[in-house]
Protein backbone atom coordinates (compact mmCIF):
# COMPACT_ATOMS: atom_id res chain seq x y z
CA UNK A 1 0.00 0.00 0.00
CA UNK A 2 1.07 3.58 -0.62
CA UNK A 3 2.97 5.07 2.31
CA UNK A 4 3.13 8.54 3.78
CA UNK A 5 6.54 9.29 2.27
CA UNK A 6 5.37 8.53 -1.26
CA UNK A 7 2.29 10.67 -0.76
CA UNK A 8 4.42 13.47 0.64
CA UNK A 9 6.87 13.22 -2.29
CA UNK A 10 4.10 13.51 -4.87
CA UNK A 11 2.44 16.41 -3.12
CA UNK A 12 5.76 18.17 -2.63
CA UNK A 13 6.32 17.93 -6.39
CA UNK A 14 2.92 19.46 -7.04
CA UNK A 15 2.95 22.14 -4.36
CA UNK A 16 6.60 23.22 -4.26
CA UNK A 17 8.18 22.09 -7.53
CA UNK A 18 5.47 23.16 -9.98
CA UNK A 19 4.62 19.67 -11.21
CA UNK A 20 1.60 20.00 -13.43
CA UNK A 21 -0.01 18.64 -16.53
CA UNK A 22 0.71 21.44 -18.93
CA UNK A 23 -2.03 20.74 -21.41
CA UNK A 24 -4.81 18.41 -22.42
CA UNK A 25 -5.15 19.00 -26.12
CA UNK A 26 -8.14 17.67 -28.01
CA UNK A 27 -7.28 17.02 -31.63
CA UNK A 28 -10.26 17.38 -33.96
CA UNK A 29 -10.30 16.47 -37.63
CA UNK A 30 -12.10 19.05 -39.77
CA UNK A 31 -11.75 17.07 -42.98
CA UNK A 32 -15.44 16.17 -42.89
CA UNK A 33 -16.35 19.87 -42.72
CA UNK A 34 -14.90 20.64 -46.16
CA UNK A 35 -17.39 22.51 -48.31
CA UNK A 36 -17.09 24.72 -51.38
CA UNK A 37 -19.44 27.24 -49.77
CA UNK A 38 -17.52 29.42 -47.29
CA UNK A 39 -20.49 30.21 -45.06
CA UNK A 40 -21.45 26.56 -44.75
CA UNK A 41 -17.81 25.61 -44.15
CA UNK A 42 -17.56 28.06 -41.26
CA UNK A 43 -20.81 26.80 -39.76
CA UNK A 44 -19.71 23.18 -39.99
CA UNK A 45 -16.32 23.98 -38.43
CA UNK A 46 -17.95 25.80 -35.53
CA UNK A 47 -20.46 23.02 -34.91
CA UNK A 48 -17.85 20.27 -35.08
CA UNK A 49 -15.49 22.01 -32.65
CA UNK A 50 -18.26 23.01 -30.28
CA UNK A 51 -19.77 19.53 -30.29
CA UNK A 52 -16.46 17.79 -29.69
CA UNK A 53 -14.95 20.16 -27.15
CA UNK A 54 -17.83 21.54 -25.11
CA UNK A 55 -16.94 19.31 -22.14
CA UNK A 56 -13.16 19.57 -22.47
CA UNK A 57 -12.57 22.32 -19.91
CA UNK A 58 -14.95 20.80 -17.36
CA UNK A 59 -13.28 17.39 -17.81
CA UNK A 60 -9.83 18.88 -17.29
CA UNK A 61 -10.99 20.69 -14.16
CA UNK A 62 -12.68 17.58 -12.80
CA UNK A 63 -9.55 15.45 -13.24
CA UNK A 64 -7.46 18.18 -11.70
CA UNK A 65 -9.74 18.17 -8.66
CA UNK A 66 -9.83 14.38 -8.30
CA UNK A 67 -6.09 13.82 -8.38
CA UNK A 68 -4.99 17.11 -6.90
CA UNK A 69 -2.77 17.88 -9.88
CA UNK A 70 -3.13 21.16 -11.78
CA UNK A 71 -4.17 20.76 -15.41
CA UNK A 72 -2.97 24.17 -16.53
CA UNK A 73 -4.28 24.42 -20.07
CA UNK A 74 -7.08 22.91 -22.06
CA UNK A 75 -6.56 23.34 -25.79
CA UNK A 76 -7.70 22.26 -29.22
CA UNK A 77 -5.80 21.38 -32.36
CA UNK A 78 -7.49 21.05 -35.74
CA UNK A 79 -6.65 19.80 -39.23
CA UNK A 80 -4.36 22.25 -41.07
CA UNK A 81 -6.76 24.92 -42.28
CA UNK A 82 -5.04 25.26 -45.66
CA UNK A 83 -6.48 21.81 -46.49
CA UNK A 84 -9.89 22.45 -44.96
CA UNK A 85 -10.38 25.84 -46.63
CA UNK A 86 -8.87 24.99 -50.01
CA UNK A 87 -12.19 24.41 -51.77
CA UNK A 88 -13.98 27.46 -50.34
CA UNK A 89 -11.38 30.19 -49.97
CA UNK A 90 -10.62 32.46 -52.90
CA UNK A 91 -9.07 35.37 -51.01
CA UNK A 92 -6.99 35.94 -47.90
CA UNK A 93 -10.10 37.40 -46.27
CA UNK A 94 -11.88 34.08 -46.79
CA UNK A 95 -9.19 32.32 -44.80
CA UNK A 96 -9.27 35.01 -42.12
CA UNK A 97 -13.00 34.29 -41.70
CA UNK A 98 -12.09 30.69 -40.77
CA UNK A 99 -9.57 31.99 -38.24
CA UNK A 100 -12.37 34.06 -36.72
CA UNK A 101 -14.61 31.00 -36.56
CA UNK A 102 -11.86 29.08 -34.77
CA UNK A 103 -11.41 31.96 -32.34
CA UNK A 104 -15.14 32.13 -31.67
CA UNK A 105 -15.32 28.39 -31.03
CA UNK A 106 -12.29 28.59 -28.71
CA UNK A 107 -13.95 31.34 -26.69
CA UNK A 108 -17.24 29.47 -26.55
CA UNK A 109 -15.76 26.22 -25.20
CA UNK A 110 -13.32 28.09 -22.95
CA UNK A 111 -9.96 26.84 -24.25
CA UNK A 112 -7.08 29.32 -24.18
CA UNK A 113 -5.54 28.37 -27.53
CA UNK A 114 -6.63 26.63 -30.71
CA UNK A 115 -3.89 25.47 -33.08
CA UNK A 116 -4.05 24.47 -36.70
CA UNK A 117 -4.18 27.65 -38.73
CA UNK A 118 -1.50 25.84 -40.64
CA UNK A 119 -0.09 24.77 -43.96
CA UNK A 120 2.21 21.84 -44.71
CA UNK A 121 4.43 22.91 -47.57
CA UNK A 122 7.67 21.02 -47.10
CA UNK A 123 7.97 20.27 -50.81
CA UNK A 124 5.63 22.67 -52.57
CA UNK A 125 2.79 25.10 -52.01
CA UNK A 126 -0.66 24.84 -53.52
CA UNK A 127 -2.48 28.09 -54.29
CA UNK A 128 -4.56 27.46 -51.16
CA UNK A 129 -1.44 26.93 -49.02
CA UNK A 130 0.05 30.18 -50.24
CA UNK A 131 -3.19 32.04 -49.69
CA UNK A 132 -3.38 30.81 -46.11
CA UNK A 133 0.25 31.67 -45.42
CA UNK A 134 -0.21 35.19 -46.78
CA UNK A 135 -3.33 35.61 -44.61
CA UNK A 136 -1.50 34.72 -41.38
CA UNK A 137 -0.58 38.30 -40.33
CA UNK A 138 -4.20 39.45 -40.60
CA UNK A 139 -5.57 36.26 -39.04
CA UNK A 140 -3.32 36.54 -35.99
CA UNK A 141 -4.05 40.26 -35.64
CA UNK A 142 -7.84 39.91 -35.58
CA UNK A 143 -8.02 36.82 -33.38
CA UNK A 144 -6.92 36.22 -29.81
CA UNK A 145 -6.56 32.48 -29.37
CA UNK A 146 -5.71 31.15 -32.81
CA UNK A 147 -2.21 29.71 -33.29
CA UNK A 148 -0.55 29.21 -36.63
CA UNK A 149 2.24 27.00 -37.92
CA UNK A 150 3.83 26.27 -41.27
CA UNK A 151 5.93 23.21 -42.01
CA UNK A 152 8.52 24.21 -44.61
CA UNK A 153 10.84 21.23 -44.64
CA UNK A 154 11.40 17.60 -43.77
CA UNK A 155 14.12 14.98 -43.86
CA UNK A 156 12.25 13.15 -46.63
CA UNK A 157 11.50 16.13 -48.87
CA UNK A 158 14.19 18.71 -48.21
CA UNK A 159 13.48 22.39 -47.57
CA UNK A 160 11.02 24.49 -49.53
CA UNK A 161 13.10 27.65 -49.80
CA UNK A 162 10.29 29.58 -51.50
CA UNK A 163 8.24 28.99 -48.36
CA UNK A 164 11.22 29.93 -46.17
CA UNK A 165 11.54 33.22 -48.06
CA UNK A 166 7.82 33.86 -47.74
CA UNK A 167 7.80 33.04 -44.03
CA UNK A 168 10.51 35.62 -43.33
CA UNK A 169 8.17 38.21 -44.80
CA UNK A 170 5.09 36.80 -43.04
CA UNK A 171 6.83 36.86 -39.64
CA UNK A 172 7.70 40.53 -40.14
CA UNK A 173 4.21 41.40 -41.39
CA UNK A 174 2.71 39.60 -38.38
CA UNK A 175 4.97 41.66 -36.13
CA UNK A 176 3.79 44.83 -37.90
CA UNK A 177 0.14 43.84 -37.73
CA UNK A 178 0.36 43.31 -33.97
CA UNK A 179 2.87 46.05 -33.11
CA UNK A 180 0.39 47.60 -30.67
CA UNK A 181 0.87 44.55 -28.45
CA UNK A 182 4.68 44.31 -28.80
CA UNK A 183 4.30 42.11 -31.89
CA UNK A 184 2.54 39.42 -29.86
CA UNK A 185 1.18 37.80 -33.05
CA UNK A 186 4.62 36.27 -33.69
CA UNK A 187 4.39 34.38 -30.39
CA UNK A 188 1.53 32.46 -31.99
CA UNK A 189 3.38 31.59 -35.21
CA UNK A 190 5.84 28.72 -35.63
CA UNK A 191 7.85 27.62 -38.66
CA UNK A 192 8.66 23.90 -38.57
CA UNK A 193 10.84 21.26 -40.13
CA UNK A 194 9.58 17.68 -39.56
CA UNK A 195 6.47 18.89 -37.70
CA UNK A 196 4.78 16.06 -35.76
CA UNK A 197 1.09 15.33 -36.39
CA UNK A 198 0.28 14.84 -32.72
CA UNK A 199 1.98 17.68 -30.88
CA UNK A 200 -0.21 18.96 -28.02
CA UNK A 201 1.91 22.07 -27.32
CA UNK A 202 1.18 25.50 -28.71
CA UNK A 203 1.80 27.40 -30.81
CA UNK A 204 2.73 24.52 -33.12
CA UNK A 205 -0.12 22.10 -32.46
CA UNK A 206 -2.22 20.87 -35.37
CA UNK A 207 -4.22 17.71 -35.91
CA UNK A 208 -2.42 15.83 -38.67
CA UNK A 209 -4.23 14.08 -41.48
CA UNK A 210 -2.84 10.75 -40.29
CA UNK A 211 -4.82 11.08 -37.04
CA UNK A 212 -8.24 9.73 -36.04
CA UNK A 213 -11.36 11.89 -36.07
CA UNK A 214 -10.77 12.98 -32.48
CA UNK A 215 -7.90 12.26 -30.13
CA UNK A 216 -6.67 13.28 -26.68
CA UNK A 217 -3.01 14.24 -26.42
CA UNK A 218 -1.44 15.32 -23.17
CA UNK A 219 1.66 17.38 -22.53
CA UNK A 220 3.35 16.99 -19.17
CA UNK A 221 5.88 19.29 -17.63
CA UNK A 222 8.07 19.40 -14.55
CA UNK A 223 11.45 21.15 -14.92
CA UNK A 224 11.20 22.07 -11.23
CA UNK A 225 10.85 18.43 -10.21
CA UNK A 226 13.95 17.43 -12.20
CA UNK A 227 15.93 20.33 -10.76
CA UNK A 228 14.99 19.45 -7.17
CA UNK A 229 15.90 15.79 -7.76
CA UNK A 230 19.28 16.85 -9.15
CA UNK A 231 19.99 19.05 -6.14
CA UNK A 232 20.16 15.86 -4.10
CA UNK A 233 22.92 14.35 -6.29
CA UNK A 234 25.07 17.48 -6.60
CA UNK A 235 28.71 16.66 -7.40
CA UNK A 236 28.07 13.04 -8.28
CA UNK A 237 29.11 11.47 -11.58
CA UNK A 238 27.22 11.31 -14.89
CA UNK A 239 25.86 7.84 -14.26
CA UNK A 240 24.09 9.03 -11.11
CA UNK A 241 23.01 12.23 -12.84
CA UNK A 242 21.45 10.43 -15.81
CA UNK A 243 19.75 7.79 -13.64
CA UNK A 244 18.21 10.53 -11.50
CA UNK A 245 16.83 12.35 -14.56
CA UNK A 246 15.38 9.10 -15.92
CA UNK A 247 13.65 8.16 -12.67
CA UNK A 248 12.21 11.63 -12.27
CA UNK A 249 11.01 11.78 -15.87
CA UNK A 250 9.34 8.42 -15.33
CA UNK A 251 7.35 9.73 -12.36
CA UNK A 252 6.36 12.93 -14.12
CA UNK A 253 5.25 11.10 -17.24
CA UNK A 254 3.18 8.59 -15.27
CA UNK A 255 1.02 11.46 -14.09
CA UNK A 256 0.54 12.55 -17.69
CA UNK A 257 -0.40 9.02 -18.69
CA UNK A 258 -2.98 8.83 -15.89
CA UNK A 259 -4.53 12.16 -16.83
CA UNK A 260 -4.55 11.28 -20.53
CA UNK A 261 -6.27 7.93 -19.95
CA UNK A 262 -8.81 9.49 -17.61
CA UNK A 263 -9.59 12.36 -19.98
CA UNK A 264 -9.92 9.88 -22.82
CA UNK A 265 -12.32 7.71 -20.79
CA UNK A 266 -14.45 10.59 -19.60
CA UNK A 267 -14.78 12.21 -23.00
CA UNK A 268 -15.12 8.99 -24.97
CA UNK A 269 -12.28 10.08 -27.22
CA UNK A 270 -9.30 7.81 -27.99
CA UNK A 271 -6.05 8.45 -26.16
CA UNK A 272 -3.36 9.52 -28.59
CA UNK A 273 -0.02 10.23 -26.97
CA UNK A 274 1.73 11.72 -24.00
CA UNK A 275 4.26 14.36 -24.93
CA UNK A 276 6.92 14.03 -22.27
CA UNK A 277 8.37 17.47 -22.49
CA UNK A 278 10.08 19.58 -19.88
CA UNK A 279 8.15 22.76 -20.61
CA UNK A 280 9.27 25.73 -18.54
CA UNK A 281 7.22 28.73 -17.46
CA UNK A 282 8.43 32.13 -16.31
CA UNK A 283 7.77 31.06 -12.68
CA UNK A 284 10.86 30.70 -10.50
CA UNK A 285 11.74 27.01 -10.08
CA UNK A 286 10.04 26.01 -13.34
CA UNK A 287 13.02 26.48 -15.61
CA UNK A 288 15.03 24.22 -17.95
CA UNK A 289 17.98 26.65 -17.73
CA UNK A 290 18.05 26.16 -13.95
CA UNK A 291 18.44 22.41 -14.54
CA UNK A 292 21.43 23.13 -16.79
CA UNK A 293 22.89 25.25 -13.98
CA UNK A 294 22.23 22.46 -11.49
CA UNK A 295 24.08 20.06 -13.83
CA UNK A 296 27.08 22.32 -13.37
CA UNK A 297 26.97 25.43 -15.54
CA UNK A 298 27.21 29.00 -14.27
CA UNK A 299 24.61 30.04 -16.83
CA UNK A 300 22.83 28.40 -19.74
CA UNK A 301 25.04 29.22 -22.72
CA UNK A 302 28.36 28.53 -20.99
CA UNK A 303 30.69 25.98 -22.66
CA UNK A 304 29.24 22.54 -21.91
CA UNK A 305 25.65 23.70 -22.39
CA UNK A 306 25.01 21.66 -25.52
CA UNK A 307 26.35 18.50 -23.89
CA UNK A 308 24.35 19.10 -20.72
CA UNK A 309 21.18 19.71 -22.73
CA UNK A 310 21.82 16.62 -24.86
CA UNK A 311 22.05 14.34 -21.83
CA UNK A 312 19.04 16.01 -20.24
CA UNK A 313 16.93 15.59 -23.36
CA UNK A 314 17.99 11.99 -23.92
CA UNK A 315 17.37 10.89 -20.35
CA UNK A 316 14.00 12.60 -20.16
CA UNK A 317 13.03 10.48 -23.16
CA UNK A 318 14.54 7.29 -21.75
CA UNK A 319 12.69 7.70 -18.45
CA UNK A 320 9.46 8.87 -20.00
CA UNK A 321 9.11 6.26 -22.71
CA UNK A 322 8.57 3.43 -20.24
CA UNK A 323 6.04 5.45 -18.28
CA UNK A 324 3.55 5.88 -21.09
CA UNK A 325 1.95 3.41 -23.48
CA UNK A 326 2.23 5.91 -26.35
CA UNK A 327 4.75 8.69 -26.53
CA UNK A 328 4.72 11.31 -29.24
CA UNK A 329 4.61 15.00 -30.01
CA UNK A 330 7.81 16.88 -29.38
CA UNK A 331 8.98 15.02 -26.26
CA UNK A 332 12.17 16.39 -24.76
CA UNK A 333 13.35 19.63 -23.19
CA UNK A 334 12.03 22.93 -24.51
CA UNK A 335 14.38 25.88 -24.51
CA UNK A 336 12.19 28.94 -25.06
CA UNK A 337 13.79 32.17 -23.96
CA UNK A 338 10.92 34.36 -22.80
CA UNK A 339 9.09 31.52 -21.06
CA UNK A 340 12.06 30.50 -18.90
CA UNK A 341 13.44 32.75 -16.16
CA UNK A 342 16.84 31.04 -16.23
CA UNK A 343 17.16 31.64 -19.99
CA UNK A 344 16.18 35.28 -19.56
CA UNK A 345 18.83 35.67 -16.85
CA UNK A 346 21.42 33.99 -19.10
CA UNK A 347 20.66 36.40 -21.95
CA UNK A 348 20.77 39.38 -19.58
CA UNK A 349 24.14 38.20 -18.22
CA UNK A 350 25.54 37.96 -21.77
CA UNK A 351 26.02 34.18 -21.49
CA UNK A 352 23.53 33.16 -24.12
CA UNK A 353 23.50 34.26 -27.77
CA UNK A 354 21.31 33.40 -30.72
CA UNK A 355 24.16 31.33 -32.17
CA UNK A 356 24.55 29.27 -28.98
CA UNK A 357 20.79 28.75 -28.90
CA UNK A 358 21.02 27.45 -32.45
CA UNK A 359 23.66 24.94 -31.37
CA UNK A 360 21.43 23.89 -28.47
CA UNK A 361 18.54 23.24 -30.83
CA UNK A 362 20.57 20.41 -32.41
CA UNK A 363 19.95 18.40 -29.24
CA UNK A 364 16.82 19.91 -27.69
CA UNK A 365 13.30 18.86 -28.50
CA UNK A 366 12.31 21.75 -30.75
CA UNK A 367 14.15 24.86 -31.79
CA UNK A 368 14.64 28.61 -31.60
CA UNK A 369 11.69 29.46 -29.44
CA UNK A 370 10.22 32.72 -28.15
CA UNK A 371 13.25 34.80 -29.02
CA UNK A 372 12.73 38.54 -29.28
CA UNK A 373 14.88 40.27 -31.91
CA UNK A 374 15.04 43.93 -33.04
CA UNK A 375 12.03 45.14 -35.01
CA UNK A 376 14.22 46.40 -37.84
CA UNK A 377 15.58 42.92 -38.62
CA UNK A 378 15.23 42.32 -42.37
CA UNK A 379 12.84 39.70 -43.73
CA UNK A 380 15.72 37.99 -45.56
CA UNK A 381 17.67 37.73 -42.29
CA UNK A 382 14.69 36.09 -40.59
CA UNK A 383 14.44 33.71 -43.55
CA UNK A 384 18.14 32.97 -43.18
CA UNK A 385 17.69 32.09 -39.51
CA UNK A 386 14.71 29.90 -40.43
CA UNK A 387 16.72 28.17 -43.18
CA UNK A 388 19.57 27.38 -40.77
CA UNK A 389 17.20 25.92 -38.23
CA UNK A 390 15.32 23.89 -40.86
CA UNK A 391 18.64 22.49 -42.12
CA UNK A 392 19.48 21.26 -38.62
CA UNK A 393 16.14 19.45 -38.46
CA UNK A 394 16.36 18.06 -41.97
CA UNK A 395 19.86 16.64 -41.64
CA UNK A 396 19.45 15.33 -38.09
CA UNK A 397 16.01 13.80 -38.68
CA UNK A 398 14.47 15.76 -35.84
CA UNK A 399 11.77 18.35 -35.39
CA UNK A 400 13.07 21.88 -35.38
CA UNK A 401 11.14 25.10 -35.24
CA UNK A 402 11.52 28.85 -35.24
CA UNK A 403 9.36 31.22 -33.23
CA UNK A 404 11.06 34.60 -33.52
CA UNK A 405 9.48 37.86 -32.47
CA UNK A 406 10.82 40.91 -34.25
CA UNK A 407 9.51 43.56 -31.86
CA UNK A 408 8.53 46.56 -33.95
CA UNK A 409 9.89 49.83 -32.55
CA UNK A 410 12.28 48.17 -30.13
CA UNK A 411 15.97 47.34 -30.28
CA UNK A 412 18.74 45.44 -28.50
CA UNK A 413 18.86 46.17 -24.78
CA UNK A 414 15.14 46.77 -24.47
CA UNK A 415 12.71 44.29 -22.97
CA UNK A 416 9.39 43.06 -24.24
CA UNK A 417 6.58 41.84 -22.00
CA UNK A 418 4.09 39.30 -23.34
CA UNK A 419 2.46 38.38 -20.05
CA UNK A 420 1.21 35.10 -18.62
CA UNK A 421 2.81 31.87 -19.77
CA UNK A 422 4.52 33.69 -22.65
CA UNK A 423 6.67 35.70 -20.20
CA UNK A 424 9.05 38.54 -21.04
CA UNK A 425 12.29 38.72 -22.96
CA UNK A 426 15.32 40.92 -23.49
CA UNK A 427 15.72 41.69 -27.19
CA UNK A 428 18.71 39.78 -28.55
CA UNK A 429 21.13 40.97 -31.22
CA UNK A 430 21.03 39.33 -34.64
CA UNK A 431 24.03 38.83 -36.93
CA UNK A 432 23.60 41.75 -39.34
CA UNK A 433 25.53 40.39 -42.33
CA UNK A 434 23.31 39.93 -45.37
CA UNK A 435 22.01 36.68 -46.82
CA UNK A 436 19.60 38.24 -49.36
CA UNK A 437 21.21 36.61 -52.39
CA UNK A 438 21.00 33.18 -50.74
CA UNK A 439 17.34 33.56 -49.79
CA UNK A 440 16.51 35.18 -53.14
CA UNK A 441 17.56 32.14 -55.18
CA UNK A 442 14.18 30.43 -54.97
CA UNK A 443 13.31 26.75 -55.30
CA UNK A 444 14.08 23.87 -52.97
CA UNK A 445 17.01 22.41 -51.11
CA UNK A 446 16.95 18.69 -52.02
CA UNK A 447 16.44 16.03 -49.35
CA UNK A 448 19.68 14.95 -47.68
CA UNK A 449 21.38 11.65 -48.32
CA UNK A 450 20.39 8.96 -45.83
CA UNK A 451 23.66 7.11 -45.83
CA UNK A 452 27.36 7.92 -45.30
CA UNK A 453 26.54 9.46 -41.91
CA UNK A 454 29.56 11.31 -40.59
Amino acid sequence: MINIFEVAETNEMIEKENLDVRTITLGISLLDCIDADLKRLNEKIYQKIYGAAKDLVATGDYISNEYGIPVVNKRISVTPIALVGGAACRTQEDYVSIAQTLDKAAHEVGVNFIGGYSALVSKGMTAADELLIRSIPKALAVTERVCSSVNVGSTRTGINMDAVKLMGEVVLQTAQATKGEDSLGCAKLVVFCNAPDDNPFMAGAFHGVTEADKVINVGVSGPGVVKTALEKVRGQNFEVLCETIKKTAFKVTRVGQLVAKEASRRMGVPFGIVDLSLAPTPAVGDSVAEILCEIGLEHAGAPGTTAALALLNDNVKKGGVMASSYVGGLSGAFIPVSEDQGMIDAVAAGALTLEKLEAMTCVCSVGLDMIAVPGDTKAATISGIIADEMAIGMVNQKTTAVRLIPVIGKGVGETVEFGGLLGYAPIMPVNGFACDDFIGRGGRIPAPIHSFKN
Partner: protein, 90 residues
Protein backbone atom coordinates in the same frame (compact mmCIF):
# COMPACT_ATOMS: atom_id res chain seq x y z
CA UNK B 1 -13.00 -0.57 -3.56
CA UNK B 2 -12.56 3.12 -4.37
CA UNK B 3 -9.60 4.36 -2.41
CA UNK B 4 -8.91 7.98 -1.68
CA UNK B 5 -5.89 9.45 0.05
CA UNK B 6 -6.59 12.21 2.55
CA UNK B 7 -3.64 14.29 3.68
CA UNK B 8 -3.74 16.70 6.59
CA UNK B 9 -0.91 19.16 7.12
CA UNK B 10 -0.75 21.99 9.63
CA UNK B 11 0.06 23.16 13.12
CA UNK B 12 -0.49 20.44 15.68
CA UNK B 13 -3.47 20.97 17.91
CA UNK B 14 -5.93 18.94 20.01
CA UNK B 15 -8.59 17.00 18.16
CA UNK B 16 -7.46 17.10 14.51
CA UNK B 17 -7.83 13.35 13.99
CA UNK B 18 -11.08 13.31 15.99
CA UNK B 19 -12.70 15.96 13.84
CA UNK B 20 -11.60 14.42 10.55
CA UNK B 21 -12.69 10.96 11.70
CA UNK B 22 -16.07 12.26 12.83
CA UNK B 23 -16.66 13.71 9.37
CA UNK B 24 -15.65 10.44 7.73
CA UNK B 25 -17.86 8.36 10.04
CA UNK B 26 -20.83 10.67 9.46
CA UNK B 27 -20.41 10.11 5.72
CA UNK B 28 -19.92 6.33 5.76
CA UNK B 29 -16.29 6.59 4.73
CA UNK B 30 -14.20 3.70 6.03
CA UNK B 31 -10.62 4.30 7.15
CA UNK B 32 -8.23 1.61 5.91
CA UNK B 33 -4.93 3.03 7.12
CA UNK B 34 -3.64 6.00 9.05
CA UNK B 35 -0.05 7.18 9.38
CA UNK B 36 0.99 10.28 11.17
CA UNK B 37 4.20 12.13 11.98
CA UNK B 38 5.07 15.45 13.54
CA UNK B 39 7.86 17.31 11.75
CA UNK B 40 9.11 20.46 13.52
CA UNK B 41 5.85 20.98 15.32
CA UNK B 42 3.85 20.46 12.14
CA UNK B 43 1.27 17.76 12.00
CA UNK B 44 1.42 15.46 8.95
CA UNK B 45 -1.21 12.80 8.50
CA UNK B 46 -2.15 10.51 5.68
CA UNK B 47 -5.27 8.40 5.62
CA UNK B 48 -6.24 5.80 3.08
CA UNK B 49 -10.02 5.62 3.00
CA UNK B 50 -12.62 3.60 1.15
CA UNK B 51 -15.34 5.79 -0.36
CA UNK B 52 -17.47 2.93 -1.69
CA UNK B 53 -20.26 3.32 0.87
CA UNK B 54 -20.60 7.07 0.86
CA UNK B 55 -23.28 8.65 -1.25
CA UNK B 56 -21.23 11.81 -1.50
CA UNK B 57 -19.80 13.05 -4.75
CA UNK B 58 -15.98 13.24 -4.69
CA UNK B 59 -16.00 16.97 -5.40
CA UNK B 60 -18.42 17.70 -2.55
CA UNK B 61 -16.48 15.55 -0.08
CA UNK B 62 -13.24 17.20 -1.13
CA UNK B 63 -14.72 20.68 -0.67
CA UNK B 64 -16.27 19.87 2.71
CA UNK B 65 -13.02 18.42 4.03
CA UNK B 66 -11.17 21.47 2.78
CA UNK B 67 -13.62 23.70 4.68
CA UNK B 68 -13.29 21.54 7.79
CA UNK B 69 -9.53 22.00 7.48
CA UNK B 70 -9.93 25.77 7.31
CA UNK B 71 -12.05 25.60 10.43
CA UNK B 72 -9.42 23.65 12.40
CA UNK B 73 -6.52 25.58 10.88
CA UNK B 74 -4.95 22.80 8.83
CA UNK B 75 -4.82 21.99 5.11
CA UNK B 76 -6.85 18.93 4.12
CA UNK B 77 -6.49 17.51 0.64
CA UNK B 78 -8.31 14.59 -1.01
CA UNK B 79 -6.83 12.77 -3.97
CA UNK B 80 -7.78 9.54 -5.68
CA UNK B 81 -5.23 6.83 -4.97
CA UNK B 82 -4.31 6.25 -8.64
CA UNK B 83 -2.02 9.27 -8.89
CA UNK B 84 0.25 7.81 -6.19
CA UNK B 85 0.06 4.26 -7.52
CA UNK B 86 0.90 5.44 -11.00
CA UNK B 87 3.87 7.46 -9.85
CA UNK B 88 5.37 5.07 -7.31
CA UNK B 89 4.48 1.58 -8.58
CA UNK B 90 5.33 -0.02 -11.90
Amino acid sequence: MKKTIITVVGKDTVGIIAKVCTYLADNQINILDISQTIVQGYFNMMMIVDTNQTGKDFGVMSKELEQLGEHIGVIIKCQKEEIFNQMHRI
